[in-house]
């Protein structure tokens, strides 16, 4: 009975191919956009996730920045308003102010921090960006940017050591001139495959030449998000030296930012981020000008995901509206069809069709129109989604749930919007219907 009704409905739709197709169009567009958006959205999420997590989702950065005028004034009103003019206040109002060394994070503060949260912290990575330079050996050269780092830096990055070792505490304590370089640099400077470990390299800075001994080689990796504007051989890679060595003779010995490598899953890291903010706020509560800002990739990731999700939702809503319009189109055509086939309905009733036979016949037709439209929409939407995902260099994911859901949903639209016309047909008076011209 159901199957025969389906065959009947297909036959009647085939008799009006063009009209059925045009009716489907609304559903096709609606389902296509829903599927495409979900596929693209998932691809984007996956892409953002994989790109950002390559930076290390366990890292929490703490950096010192100027407290804004507002929070300064709001926090300690009487000092901000009527206090005697101080150096700090003059500096605070200018944009070019620089923190004193005492405003920054010192090694003793870091040690205290580690003691405070022994169960949350794996390590604290320190970096000091020295600047760019060129490693030269006769005609051979390689661009580098020099970074002073501590041993914990290795924990904060997903660096892959190919040869030798990373910097250690011994290098730090003795201010040694040792370096960990990229395999890319090794290729440029030692093209004939000599073992780079323990080799010395000459680093040409703007005014000076420094000599470092290579202790390790890491694998250079490009992020898919990075767009390189320089030619292959001019690409600058990081050259890591002990942070102590990098700060020799520098006026600033403390750190304007540190990276805390935390333990645990994403929610506990998000929690710990807030905890750290509170902790550092307490440490800096007496500093009028400078304060900490604690940030983690996890918290940023979750806010990026929030934005992505709300964009997805908004577009899905619009797609939903087009689906609604498609459904109204189905209803419209079904009403036309019922009117056109009034005599047929009368005849069927004269032959013994009950109201539910007629209702079922038209609902089946509506469900088939929108179901077939839905299937076409899924094929188109998945194709569009896959193409865009490939363009975004993101993995193509086809959600079975969304796909199945769309077919069922589009058929439900057919049943919903087909019900009114079908019911109208079912309730026709047989005599009126037979007399219909």
């Amino acid at each position: 009975m159901i199957w025969e009704n389906v065959l009947l409905a297909i036959a009647s739709l085939r008799a009006n191919k063009m009209r059925a197709l045009l009716t489907m169009l609304g559903i096709i567009i609606g389902i296509t956009s829903v599927i495409a958006i979900v596929t693209i959205g998932n691809a984007m999420t996956a892409s953002v996730n994989s790109n950002l997590s390559s930076f290390g989702t366990n890292n929490i950065t703490v950096f010192i920045r100027e407290k804004t005028q507002r929070s300064f004034g709001g926090g300690i009103p009487f000092l901000g308003g009527g206090g005697p003019p101080q150096g700090g206040q003059i500096r605070g109002s200018g944009n070019s102010s620089r923190p004193e060394d005492s405003d920054l994070i010192s090694l003793s503060m870091i040690n205290k921090l580690k003691e405070e949260f022994p169960n949350n912290i794996t390590g604290v990575a320190l970096t000091n960006s020295v600047g760019s330079a060129t490693v030269k050996d006769g005609e051979k050269y390689a661009n580098v940017s020099i970074s002073g780092t501590n041993p914990d830096y290795l924990l904060s990055s997903n660096m892959n050591i190919l040869q030798g070792r990373y910097l250690n505490q011994n290098d730090m304590n003795n201010y040694r001139n040792v370096a960990v370089v990229s395999d890319r640099l090794v290729k440029s400077i030692f093209p004939n495959g000599a073992d780079p470990i323990s080799q010395q390299i000459k680093v040409y800075k703007t005014n000076t030449i420094e000599i470092y001994t290579i202790v390790g080689v890491y694998k250079y990796e490009t992020s898919s998000m990075q767009v390189s504007t320089v030619s292959e051989e001019d690409v600058s890679t990081n050259l890591y030296i002990p942070v102590t060595t990098s700060k020799l003779g520098a006026s600033q010995q403390n750190y304007s930012s540190i990276t805390v490598v935390a333990k645990g899953d994403s929610s506990s890291i998000i929690n710990f981020t807030t905890q750290l903010q509170t902790y550092f706020d307490e440490v800096y509560k007496n500093n009028k000008l400078w304060g900490p800002r604690v940030n983690s990739l996890e918290t940023q990731l979750s806010s990026i995901m929030d934005v992505l999700n709300s964009i997805k939702l908004a577009i899905a809503f619009i797609a939903g509206i087009s689906l609604l319009v498609g459904g109204i189109g189905v209803m419209n055509i079904m009403l036309v069809s019922v009117t056109e086939r009034t005599r047929e309905i009368g005849t069927r009733k004269a032959l013994g069709a009950k109201n539910f036979h007629i209702r079922f016949q038209f609902i089946t037709e509506a469900a088939i129109i929108s179901g077939v439209g839905g299937i076409i929409g899924i094929i188109l939407g998945t194709t569009v989604g896959a193409v865009v995902s490939v363009v975004l260099k993101a993995p193509v994911t086809v959600s079975v749930l969304v796909t199945l859901g769309s077919v069922i949903f589009s058929m439900a639209i057919g049943v919903f919007f087909g019900y009114y016309p079908a019911n109208k047909a079912a309730k026709l008076d047989p005599i009126e219907a037979l007399r219909y011209e």
Partner: protein
């Protein structure tokens, strides 16, 4: 088997333009009778047929079909009566468009809930009976008027109905084709002893039936048995 008494059919009941179409009709038809209803256009023939066919309900009066009072039935019950007891043949054929002759004939069986293979077998038999065995898979728009009406007669016979109701079945056909269609009615009456109610304008056709009822302005003004009919059938047979 058909017992109609004091039947009145009105349109626009209770309104200023109230119309009384059938005025106090009483009529009984025995099983197996071939009866014709004649009368001027607008005299109420089709209205009467719709009531006999359980498509419509009388405004007052009673209609008992095979002992069942029809005037008290619900819509779905009426559908069932039409499906099981009545076979309609219309002036305008009313075949379902874009549906093969076979599927048209199967339709009453479909609504009765008969399975596919049995339906197919019965439909093929009936199309053979009306001489349409070679056109079974044709669509209505590929058939001539006479052929369409033969398919419609096969369809009317599909559920072995007690009564065949034919409302001017030859009205849209030329006289030659009309005679052919009439011959089919005579044949199914003779061979299957079915009750047939034939509505017609054509006195020649009416003369071939066993009983002639004349309707005028919603009243029966003539009802006679036709004795010449038997010999005519005899001549044909």
């Amino acid at each position: 088997m058909i017992e109609i008494s004091n039947l009145i059919k009105k349109y626009y009941v209770g309104m200023p333009n109230e119309l009384t179409i059938l005025k106090d009709i009483s009529l009984s038809i025995q099983e197996g009778q071939f009866i014709s209803v004649v009368g001027a256009s607008g005299s109420g023939k089709s209205t009467l047929m719709n009531i006999i066919g359980a498509l419509d309900r009388p405004t007052s009066g009673t209609y008992v079909l095979d002992g069942i009072p029809i005037q008290e039935m619900t819509e779905n019950e009426l559908s069932e009566v039409r499906n099981k007891k009545i076979g309609f043949v219309f002036q305008t054929f009313n075949l379902i468009p874009r549906t093969t002759a076979l599927n048209n004939v199967e339709l009453p069986l479909f609504y009765m809930g008969v399975g596919k293979s049995e339906r197919r077998k019965k439909a093929e038999e009936l199309l053979e009976l009306v001489g349409m065995g070679d056109r079974m898979t044709h669509m209505p728009n590929e058939l001539s008027g006479g052929q369409k009406q033969r398919v419609a007669i096969a369809r009317a016979l599909a559920n072995d109905p007690a009564i065949i109701l034919a409302d001017e079945p030859t009205g849209a056909l030329d006289s030659q084709t009309g005679k052919l269609v009439m011959d089919i009615f005579l044949k199914i009456h003779r061979e299957e002893h079915r009750t047939i109610v034939l509505i017609t304008h054509n006195p020649e056709l009416a003369e071939q039936t066993e009983r002639i009822v004349t309707l005028s302005d919603g009243r029966i003004i003539g009802d006679r048995l036709n004795h010449s009919q038997k010999t005519e059938v005899g001549v044909r047979a």
